[in-house]
Amino acid sequence: MTAESALFTELRSKALGQTVTLAKIDERTLLLFIDSQPGDDRGVMFGFEPAWHVREPGRVLTGSIDTQFEDEDPEAEERIRRLESLLGALLGRTVEDVAVEPETFDLTLALSGGYVVKTFVADATDEETWRIQDNASGSVLSGSPEGLSVL
């Protein structure tokens, strides 16, 4: 087993059955904290880089283009607040699966109630599509179209 796949197995096992405690937009990155808050030294944090979307049963709730604003858009902050309010639907949901797609290395996070968060490679040269951070050890697993890497 490679270091990358060993860390993936460990992080997946830490996240399974745990709950989403915070959903936040940082620039165009979607951050999901599992069993933790920013700065905590426990739990796991998922970072999804564009392109990503969040599905609720039967439809897409929001996606990374919804976080794209013109420079100095006076409504940007309000729109981010509205998006984060939509993402409130994820809070308290438990992690049911974490999977990496062969070939693209896209990440799918399946949550209770049929909610799904997915990435999608829109640039074959992207350096990072997603990351999972172990808040206790600081270990980070990063995914890109080239594969997985431990940071």
Binding site: P50, A51, H53, R55, L61, D66, F120, A122, A124, D126
Partner: protein
């Protein structure tokens, strides 16, 4: 004609047929089956961002790579997509829930869309060039747009 019949009809017409032309209109990818621009025959797939093209084992290119100001870079991206020419259509599928389109081509090549904006008007359309009618997909569902 209802949505299912129209999709089935378009799908039947392209299965086993070759990609005869490709074009990037800004970051929209056009794939021509059995026709070239202006022919008035065959079927054309209009794939709006977000999309990617996969070759066996990896992603060949994605829509964000077409969002460049550098003309040479844009031209090179188009050249990479020439690998699709001559490949035949193996399947056309629509994903429930997102209405994303997957076009499977011979040799293990795939063209896939991805909804990254819940209120998007159109993710893709498939145009019957003989009648001008098209099947349009968005996160809200499918619709038929007659002629034009």
């Amino acid at each position: 004609m209802d949505l299912d019949s129209f999709f089935d009809d378009l799908r039947r017409r392209v299965l086993g047929r070759p990609v005869t032309f490709r074009r990037l209109a800004a970051n929209t990818l056009l794939i021509y089956i059995d026709n070239e621009p202006g022919d008035g025959t065959g079927v054309t797939f209009w794939i709006n961002p977000v999309w990617h093209v996969r070759e066996p084992g990896q992603v060949l290119a994605g829509s964000r790579q077409a969002q460049v100001d550098d003309e040479e870079e844009f031209y090179r991206l188009g050249e990479r997509l020439d690998v699709l020419l001559g490949l035949t259509v193996q399947d056309v599928t629509i994903e429930p829930g997102t209405f994303d389109l997957t076009l499977a081509l011979s040799g293990g090549y795939l063209v896939k869309t991805f909804v990254a904006q819940a209120a998007r008007d159109e993710s893709w359309h498939i145009r019957d060039n003989t009648t001008g009618s098209r099947l349009s997909g968005s996160p809200q569902g499918l619709r038929i747009v007659s002629h034009g």
